[in-house]
Symmetry: D2
Subunit: 442 residues, 4 copies
């Protein structure tokens, strides 16, 4: 499977005088769109409809909803005479945009056997063609708006490409046949290197996306100052072996290590129905196994520990006399001179499970392997402004009860990630590719 | 679609000296098996996996579970050297037979995208072939046991053929596209005839299956005496028009008409999420519609009212100063001289929605159109004995909290029904083809 | 504590010419009323408000609701110029009579700290006085109606006297201090006698209350015929020791012994939060204890096993190759010549926990010790008619999903019970004084 | 009712050479203890046991738990030969200290009719006496630890004094009799003054308690720097009239104003079971009423809007093109030169419902009337360290999913509050005295 485009696509020119070439936009657009479909290669028709919990969506729904996004926010307002593909799709494939209208119940998306997979692909073709026509005839009056929304739509589709992986993994895990998405075997791992620390003194720091520097979501703005006290942060993720040591020391049974809500979640049995262990761990005849997109494999102590909730991450950190980093610490650390230029989206996502030492550089695991829980609540940056209208619902309305994660993961689409990226999930969520970086006060 | 066999198939000879011809058994068996598959004709692959509530099962699961039944109860014990098709299927496709082993959680059957539909059909082929081999070489020592279990397995599969229809209907109803299973248009109906009554005096009656008379389930036995007081019973089902009159008279709001548990179920909103009306009714611009396996159609007052819970049936009867019949009254009425010979399984199920007057005889609606709620709790007949072993779980363990229904329905497979048949569901259940026959004390 | 009146009170004369003496009615009425209050003797003010589950009501609520019954059904319609004690009480203390009006939510009765206990006693005084005035001036035009409703109200209050005990027991059991209602020590028990059987041949039987014979509830009528096949029934209840043997044989883990709904209830953990055992059993240091109204005591194998659900009762019977009796079998057995006259309500309820051999006669445990689950669904007898109006809600609307129990219990008020009495609870209910009598086909 | 002591009590001397006088400690201690009991003056015995939801505790439980705190953390470790009052109380009255042991289920505290109210008062006496003895003989070796824990215990009891009010209010609101705690009539209010703003420029600010300045909880430490951008903040709370305007503009129906989780909570009906309105609002004949501790009163537009969730507060702010302040903005604003010295705990809490203009100074409503939602997640300050042992569970383990509130309320005990105080509740919580202060970017 080849990545959508070797360079992260670039839709808007920073030079307002430059003419935006619709054909280049279309090329970038189609590259993202085709990537979504290539991801479905290993799927059987039956797999497209799975929904094992309300938070996950069927693959088919992801394919249709991302299409709906372009239809709703580009074709309907900007393409003259555009005829919607189907009158019910506005309702069926709206995720949460109240400004657009009502939504089919989120927890019942798995019940939509119709439209069929084939029909959803026809929907994609139909919208792709209409959009290419729109870009071809790019009306200068609204060219900038169109390009802006197109870019957002492409990043939106990339977000669903990651969810495609995590949702499928969660659904397949419910099946005792444990299907494998990839038949590439996971490589043998070398012993994990001892953990070392990066130390940074306390000072005022610039946080947030530098708007000179390409696309970002609204929640990464505005760039602003934060006073960040001295801290140190680990140079790599926590490993399975280290998490096993926590478990063997009774970590899941020691209330003093857990936040009260996390302890209550444990008591309610919400971690893993098979064992008191990370979400995808199973024990058979005394041996731990881990479900991965490469199938059910023996747990390897030398791989990063993943699919942890923030509660598990926090308890593990506390057991180590450490803590989770704040999102500001994380960003400061990641954008320091020595690491700043280092992170490169892989051309090709080789593996869909995190490994140590796969990336070339020494700080390889800082980003691109697992999303890393921070202790920071997902809140608006000072002077944050959401967009007007329904698109303003994209990020802002979720700024309650969730935590920020940083770092990207093996399931993040090439070209999608940057260090100012603020991913967000509820602390109990485990089905994303989430891991732990340790931090400490300096 | 042609029915499995013109005469109800006959597996066992009553004459113990007669040789049971394995080839005849195989023919009857294959006829039933093929019918299950023909029912899936209108399905897309995506439809095979739907499960909208715990009580419904995906079509694919029905196909696999009925196969599992033959594999478990015939091939494993009787076919020498039989190799199970897949080691996990014993677990995946066991419905509720604790005597066989644990079961994959019933409410998660919709999460099994694998095995695929194609794989399940391969499973069916594999078992069909092994079973025909077994029947071909029918070992005389266990011939009777094999024939007995084969017959049970065939009736079992027919029961799942009915559930195939009702489960699919329930699942598709969750989809605002309201898919149609059949493209045959429902015929225009004539005004429903005025209701007349059949009166029967009080006397001791014989109840239960006459064992001289072919196959029956264990719960229809033993034939025994019941004293049945004088009663009268309507000659036809209640119509949509009559049920609408109940609704227009405020029937759903009059607590005096409802059993306490039914009233509580109404308050909990469990009837129909669209309207205070029978399960599949919708209102659009003041007009009532009804979802049928022939699609969403305008509600026809001259069709039988269907998909009622026992609570709705009971409230409606009370509003008419009537009551539901007991199962004994129903059986006595149905097996009277004038009606006894009348019920003929249709060769071909023409329509999958109940109609008045479709069958030729005057008492046509007594049976074969809708299952009819009785007021009788589903309890063992005096001296009832369940079979030994796991097959004893077939009926007996469900004798709590459910009510008996009689009459068969448009979704009942040809040749499957008889008047001593005791179907059973919880009083709140609505997704079966259920209707009302009124009764009164004489 | 002395019982309300040595002879069961008699409100109505059978001789229509005879003058009904209001003063006699008042005396019987007050006797019942005072008994309710005497039952509260051991209570602290704090105990009057407890409600540990929706099915139980606070003692204070019982005191008020029974008063409400007389106010609503006698004083309001028949007492000229009667002023209700408080305008909100019609709402607060209505249990389930929709015909009277809306009801304060049943599951929140424990939240009514006001009116206080003292205020509820004032309410009782107020109604008692008004009612005695009404009886004193008994208007001949409605004397019969008044006497009929008064008698019903008295039996109604007696039913709440039993619930007073069972609800309090359930609530106190939630408290690790395990308060004792009675400080009378439970007597030492002798070894339980071996079980013997009473056999009765199959025949048509008269079932239901003989209306010549005093008061009964509407659900005991009409007396009618049932064909009852030959059966035998145990002469005593099952003992704790016998139930322990079932447990030690793995009874709670053997799915083949359980009805499917009972097995599901076990899996859902609904039996006893302390142990897989009857509701009030606890284990400490390997010794079983049982919570009783006489406090927490060591489990005595020679006492009747009590507080079983119908599922537990049924599984135990099945383990013994027996079954539960039907309510008809129970009634036939109890009213046979040799036992008919035997059951005498005790003048004084000595103990609030069942014992073997306390009553004098040899068949002592047939009645008066524990309510005995039957296998009979609580259904209307043929030609059953509920009363008109709100009083018609007394029994009829509960005829769904419940089972009949027979026999009375140690908590049943003196004079309240008779052999045609049909008590009814859901099969999962355990908080009543319920036990098992074994039966078998003959 | 007179307040515990005119000056906030002072337990520890800052001068290490000074002798700590045990008798002064005892006096301060007893003053707090007596205040708790005086608060119970208006209660009937029946009121002491109410628990209407898991988050609220019965008054009796508050009285016992605060006593347990002193017994557990002072008497058991420091009083030689101390005999616990009752062996089960360690379990019954432990709130959430896993380090001490298991806890009686929090949501069942209302089921503990025993110990009685009288017994709990005896428990208080017993512990008070033992504690005074301990203080009298104050062992110099542990004097400082004792004084520290005593002070914490006193502040702890004051926190429960506030919960006493809010929990009782919530419980009584479930009773249609709407009991009044105070018979003092609420004063007539004058028209609320137009809202004005305080503006503060962006700069580095010192946040957190100044440890030179008396007692604080661990979560107010350490004092540290935060960069706070320029903002302005309203000089008073939002009024009922202003909130009504929001409602009349359809505020509860406009999804664009709500955080996604708040909108979902509205859909789930969790705001107010009577109306789409703040928790304690009721409508009768077109007139709004509000339940207060002074009884059910007509809604007064000129009183502060209270018992709002953070979701309601946030939606209201958004409707005004404002936002909630951060906790840092709030603290900076409150501790500015002009307001710093202004807040005085009232000697006597005159009223238990917020009023405008009751306090003397112009900035009167900044503090002491209602807790004010901030947009800040309740997180540890940089370098926060919880205490060792079970006392470390006091604050730290709740730093997830909650928001900080500032300002104190009419139910806050005299002397308890300071501007660095960090109260915390879940955003959906409404039963505290919570209101809104508006803020904006500068």
């Amino acid at each position: 499977m080849s990545a959508p485009s070797s360079a992260p696509f670039k839709l808007r020119s920073k030079n307002p005088d430059e003419i935006i070439a619709g054909s280049l936009l279309a090329k970038a657009y189609l590259s993202i769109r085709q990537y979504s479909e290539r991801l479905c290669g290993p799927l059987e028709i039956e797999d497209y409809g799975l929904q094992a919990m309300a938070s996950t969506s069927p693959a088919k729904w992801h394919l249709a909803h991302t299409t709906w996004f372009f239809e709703t926010f580009l074709l309907k307002p900007y393409a003259p005479g555009y005829q919607p593909f189907h009158p019910e799709y506005e309702y069926l494939f709206n995720s949460y945009y109240n400004g657009v209208g009502n939504q089919y119940p989120r927890d019942q998306r798995g019940l939509l056997s119709r439209p069929t997979v084939a029909e959803v692909y026809r929907y994609r073709r139909y919208v792709d063609e209409a959009l290419c026509e729109l870009l071809d005839a790019l009306p200068s009056r609204s060219a900038d708006e169109i390009a802006t929304r197109l870019e957002l739509g492409c990043h939106h589709e990339q977000q669903h490409q990651e969810l495609f992986h995590t949702d499928l993994k969660y659904c397949w895990f419910q099946n005792p046949l444990y299907p494998a998405y990839s038949d590439v075997p996971l490589p043998k791992s070398a012993p994990v290197a001892p953990l070392t620390w990066q130390s940074i003194d306390g000072q005022l720091q610039q946080i947030g996306h530098d708007s000179e520097n390409g696309f970002c979501f609204d929640n990464e703005l505005p760039r602003h100052q934060q006073y960040v006290e001295g801290f140190r942060i680990a140079d790599r993720l926590v490993s399975n072996g280290e998490f096993l040591a926590f478990m063997e020391d009774g970590g899941y049974g020691r209330s003093d290590l857990w936040l009260a809500d996390g302890w209550a979640a444990l008591a309610a049995g919400s971690v893993n129905s098979h064992a008191l262990a990370p979400l995808y761990w199973l024990q058979r005849d005394g041996q731990w196994f881990e479900y991965t997109l490469h199938g059910l494999v023996e747990l390897d102590p030398n791989r990063p520990a993943c699919h942890l909730s923030a509660y598990e991450a926090d308890a593990f950190a506390r057991w180590n006399d450490c803590r989770l980093p704040t999102e500001f610490e994380w960003e400061v650390s990641a954008t320091r001179g020595d690491t700043k230029s280092e992170y490169q989206s892989p051309e090709e996502p080789a593996l869909l499970h995190p490994q140590f030492g796969v990336q070339s550089a020494q700080k390889a695991n800082v980003a691109g392997s697992l999303w890393q829980w921070t202790s920071s609540a997902y809140s608006p940056y000072p002077r944050f402004k959401a967009a007007d209208g329904a698109l303003g619902e994209y990020n802002g309305k979720f700024m309650a009860n969730q935590l920020v994660l940083r770092g990207g993961s093996v399931a993040t689409s090439p070209g999608h990630y940057r260090h100012s990226y603020r991913n967000f999930f509820y602390p109990q969520d485990q089905w994303q590719f989430t891991g732990v970086r340790l931090a400490q006060d300096l």
